[in-house]
């Protein structure tokens, strides 16, 4: 597995911490799935922040703070600085939202913010689209990881454009790639891994499932299956049937 800014992840599931029915279920989802990275955010302190932080620390996972909800470079950069201080990590999941309904990243501002942050020692995980040129610009800006969307955040639609994600994998063979957002089912996560992606980042599909703990585990199993399948060099699909049972030696019975 590729390293993420020099850090080897224990596995390929990055799991969000929002929207769970309770903190206990969130904790159990992490423990049962074994997810190695937790995404977190910063919000105005209302008293709940310290308890949450204590719980996340006790999970013993890697922490990836985000800049969720930021719409400008200034806002995202300031949030990143605050996150670095609070979470004591140079990792930042850089989100710069450009569209209210689709939560599509504003890739122009994303590249600009990435340049500023990498220049100041941040290790940026950019939430981006599947556009190859944007990917290239992000790498030039100093990013060493790319996180293209599968589908809009929280939509659960899976990999909307498998062709584009496949092209991205082929274009950047040595860059750690993560499908971030849009995953709804374990089969979507498996598909991302079968394409050769290095990890999957998801939240809603687990947190909003009827049984988040079981779904977290299902996601991990699917990710492992997809990863193993990718390493096993799958066959190419073909249009015509090809008998799998030998034809030679068949008894003549008609």
């Amino acid at each position: 597995m590729k390293s993420f800014y020099g850090t080897q992840l224990p596995n390929s599931l990055m799991l969000g911490t929002a929207q769970y029915p309770s903190p206990a279920i969130l904790e159990q989802a992490f423990r049962e799935s074994g997810a190695g990275v937790a995404t977190v955010s910063l919000r105005r302190e209302s008293g709940a922040g310290q308890t949450f932080w204590q719980m996340i620390r006790e999970l013993g996972v890697l922490i990836l703070p985000n800049t969720a909800g930021c719409h400008t470079v200034k806002e995202a950069v300031t949030t990143a600085y605050m996150a670095r201080e609070v979470f004591d990590t140079n990792w930042i999941k850089l989100e710069l939202i450009g569209h209210t309904d689709s939560l599509q990243p504003d890739v122009f501002q994303l590249v600009e913010a990435a340049r500023i942050l990498t220049g100041d020692g941040f290790q940026v995980f950019p939430y981006t689209t599947d556009d190859l040129i944007v990917g290239e610009r992000l790498l030039t800006a100093g990013c060493e990881v790319l996180m293209p969307w599968g589908a809009p955040i929280g939509s659960g639609r899976g990999l909307n454009n498998e062709y584009a994600l496949r092209a991205m994998r082929a274009e950047f063979p040595d860059v750690p790639l993560v499908v971030d957002a849009g995953i709804g089912l374990p089969s979507h996560a498996a598909q991302a891994m079968e394409l050769g992606y290095d990890a999957v980042l998801l939240n809603t599909a687990v947190a909003r499932a009827g049984n988040p703990v079981a779904m977290a585990r299902a996601m991990m199993l699917a990710i492992q299956a997809g990863q193993l399948a990718h390493q096993a060099d799958p066959i190419e699909a073909r249009d015509m049937a090809e008998p799998s049972t030998p034809v030679i030696g068949k008894a003549f019975l008609s």
């Binding site: 995404t39 955010s41 910063l42 703070p65 605050m82």
Partner: protein, 64 residues
């Protein structure tokens, strides 16, 4: 002095940021910004506040 703390108008005595955090009962892991600029924890003691300042105090929270 009147400031805006986390979006709410407040009358406070503190004249520097570090005192404001104590006065308003913030402790633990928080990060601060004044008028949309990040103020690192080590500089809070030197951050003077003036009437109308917008102060943000944020803490760890669930996120995706």
């Amino acid at each position: 002095m009147k400031i805006v703390l986390n979006g709410e108008s407040r009358e406070v005595c503190a004249e520097i940021l570090s005192d404001l955090l104590v006065e308003c009962g913030f402790s633990g892991r928080v990060a601060t910004a004044v008028n949309e600029d990040f103020v690192p924890s080590g500089l809070r003691i030197a951050q003077k506040l003036t009437d109308g300042d917008r102060v943000e105090v944020v803490a760890p929270m669930q996120g995706g």
